[in-house]
């Protein structure tokens, strides 16, 4: 478990392992584990010799117990949402910590209610379309752009790089008003148009990260390909793009998380369509009154896909987020 975390810490190592064959990885894993076990056994021996045999175990159990308590506190909110999603409106606000009883239990009423009220499924599908479309566009365009500005060295590629880096420190509020004006004028207020906006907005971080990875691709391979008669397009897609795959996953996850959860940008840009966060916000009526029962059910439906996605690609997500933190 320790070396798993070590992998996370360096993006380069991550690139290496992703390309070695599965078998090699497996073997390496076994060897590492063996070495670790041996090391641990030795350490344990040393520790045991050092006076604190049973006492260490005692404090270890206390620490473990503390962790279990914290873990329960951490899951409790999600559990409470799930529990309350089956209770009647009044009971959600009056006794949210009580289990559903025969009196308060309403079955799936909140779900059917909420789904209808906010148009859950259209919103969900639109969110999926926008997120997927924008991420694919971002990966393709920004990797090509990053390759171009790292391989061509002139004044304007340097300027572009600076501008992309600069855009990362500008908060959304600075540009939101003129941006929604431009988006409206250019008729980008639909599902396709918003992808263009996301491409432009995500370009900073994505180009910056891709450029970092491309710098580590040896130039010799590309030159060999070019001498063999590959044009820039084939060189990029046959040589660079496969090498960049692990970093593309990182960039994709960072952007997907941001776009999926984004509330403000689609609210300002989209005309008739609603994304999932917008649909959920829609449950807050005038004067701040909220239908909490339907809200709980919709929150469950919003969280489930995230949890599935998380458990399906947990490793990539944690790696990606850490890499993004270090680079950004």
């Amino acid at each position: 478990m320790a070396d798993e975390m070590n992998n996370i810490s360096t993006a380069d190592e991550y690139t290496d392992t992703a390309h070695s064959s599965e078998w090699k990885k497996f073997q390496e894993g076994v060897e590492k584990e063996k070495a670790q076990k041996e090391l641990k056994a030795e350490m344990d021996k040393i520790k045991a010799n050092k006076k604190t045999g049973p006492k260490m175990q005692g404090t270890d159990w206390i620490k473990f117990a503390i962790l279990v308590i914290i873990a329960i506190i951490f899951i409790a909110p999600i559990f409470l949402v799930l529990m309350n999603s089956f209770k009647g409106k009044l009971f959600v606000s009056n006794e949210p910590f009580a289990f559903p009883s025969s009196e308060s239990f309403v079955g799936f009423d909140n779900y059917t209610n909420g789904v209808e009220k906010i148009g859950f499924f259209p919103a969900f599908i639109k969110s999926v379309v926008i997120t997927l479309g924008s991420v694919v566009l971002l990966i393709l365009c920004t990797s090509m752009c990053a390759w171009f500005i790292t391989r061509v060295k002139t004044w304007y590629t340097k300027l572009m790089y600076l501008l992309f880096a600069f855009s990362m420190i500008v908060p959304f509020q600075m540009v939101m008003y003129p941006m929604s004006f431009i988006a409206n004028t250019l008729k980008l207020d639909n599902l396709i148009g918003i992808m263009v906006i996301y491409l432009g907005f995500g370009a900073g971080l994505s180009v910056f990260m891709f450029a970092g990875f491309i710098k580590s691709v040896p130039l010799e391979i590309e030159e060999a390909a070019m001498i063999d008669g590959c044009g820039p397009i084939r060189t990029f897609f046959m040589i660079d793009f496969p090498i960049l795959r692990p970093s593309a996953i990182t960039v994709a996850i960072l952007n997907a998380m941001w776009i999926w959860n984004d509330y403000l940008l689609p609210t300002l840009v989209l005309n008739d369509d609603k994304t999932l966060p917008m649909a959920i916000q829609y449950l807050r009526g005038g004067y701040g009154s909220i239908d909490m029962a339907a809200m709980m059910a919709m929150l469950v439906l919003a969280i489930i896909p995230i949890i599935i996605f998380y458990f399906a690609c947990q490793k990539y997500i944690i790696k990606g987020v850490v890499a993004g933190a270090v680079k950004g």
């Binding site: 620490k63 920004t142 908060p171 491409l199 432009g200």
Partner: protein, 280 residues
């Protein structure tokens, strides 16, 4: 090789450059200009100088939001980092199930701000129900509600960064300290903390910028209530643009001030990480 690639600019770089110009570059320049204008729909902008900035700084709501945001940022940066570091220390000991714990603690980070806000409305209102109050009856409830929410969301994320820092410390160093007779506390202060300085810098600035720029969570949890007292900067700017007629110019001026503060924070971080790299 340069030249062969150069002529491919339209294919490789142009799509990104066009989108970047539409979504960021043009709005940014327009934003700077509009902050000096009086306007309602962008098209009717008239240059009026620094009047908007003067109005922004004499707006109580803005000053209150600035103060609220600063307070919130300081409290959440401290609590998140201390708690995340303690968890990271616990989870780098050879305990059972550390992987399961890590997975769990990180999870809230993936949930979006709007959803987070409504989860915590339910919980906080549930607790306050016993004293006949809601989260919007006192600005303090909103403040601490936001702090708790932010802790729940970011502790796991920062913990992961601290863990990777702690695991990069060479065991030799700790062993050497032990042989020299250092106790646990001394090892922490003199070995662990200096060794994970890069992680600390990253975490401090991530929490700092994330807290300072917070919008969704603030919008969903209290929406500024009661009486705009729990309004943070980003939300105040949003409300100035879209909630107050004739204040668009002031909103843009506030946004420029906001940008300058955020940029100053980011550049400080850049400077600090750079100067550390030189030391190493």
């Amino acid at each position: 090789m340069d030249k062969a690639i150069k002529k491919w600019f339209p294919l490789f770089a142009l799509p990104t450059v066009v989108a970047f110009t539409i979504a960021f570059l043009a709005p940014f320049i327009m934003g700077l200009y509009l902050s000096l204008c009086k306007f309602k729909t962008v098209k009717d902008a008239k240059l009026i100088g620094f009047n908007n900035y003067a109005r922004a700084f004499s707006d109580d709501k803005f000053i209150n939001a600035l103060w609220f945001t600063t307070k919130f940022t300081i409290v959440s940066v401290i609590t998140i980092n201390i708690l995340a570091f303690i968890l990271a220390m616990l989870l780098t000991k050879s305990l059972k199930g550390t992987n399961v714990f890590r997975t769990l603690f990180f999870m809230p980070n993936l949930i979006g701000g709007i959803v987070l806000g409504y989860i915590w409305i339910m919980i906080i209102n549930g607790v306050l129900y016993y004293s006949n109050a809601t989260i919007t009856s006192d600005p303090n409830y909103g403040f601490w509600g936001l702090v708790i929410l932010m802790n729940w969301q970011l502790i796991g994320y920062m913990m992961i960064i601290y863990i990777s820092g702690i695991q990069n410390i060479s065991p030799d160093l700790l062993e050497a300290a032990e042989i020299d007779g250092a106790n646990r506390w001394q090892k922490l202060i003199h070995v662990t903390l200096p060794q994970i300085m890069p992680s600390i810098t990253i975490c401090l600035f991530l929490t700092l910028t994330n807290s300072f720029k917070l919008f969704d969570q603030n919008y969903a949890l209290t929406a500024g209530a009661p009486g705009d007292k729990t309004q943070m900067l980003a939300l105040d700017i949003y409300n100035t643009f879209y909630g107050r007629v004739g204040w668009q110019g002031v909103g843009q001026a506030k946004a420029v001030v906001f940008f300058i503060i955020v940029a100053a924070i980011a550049l400080t971080q850049l400077y600090l990480t750079r100067s550390k790299e030189v030391e190493n």
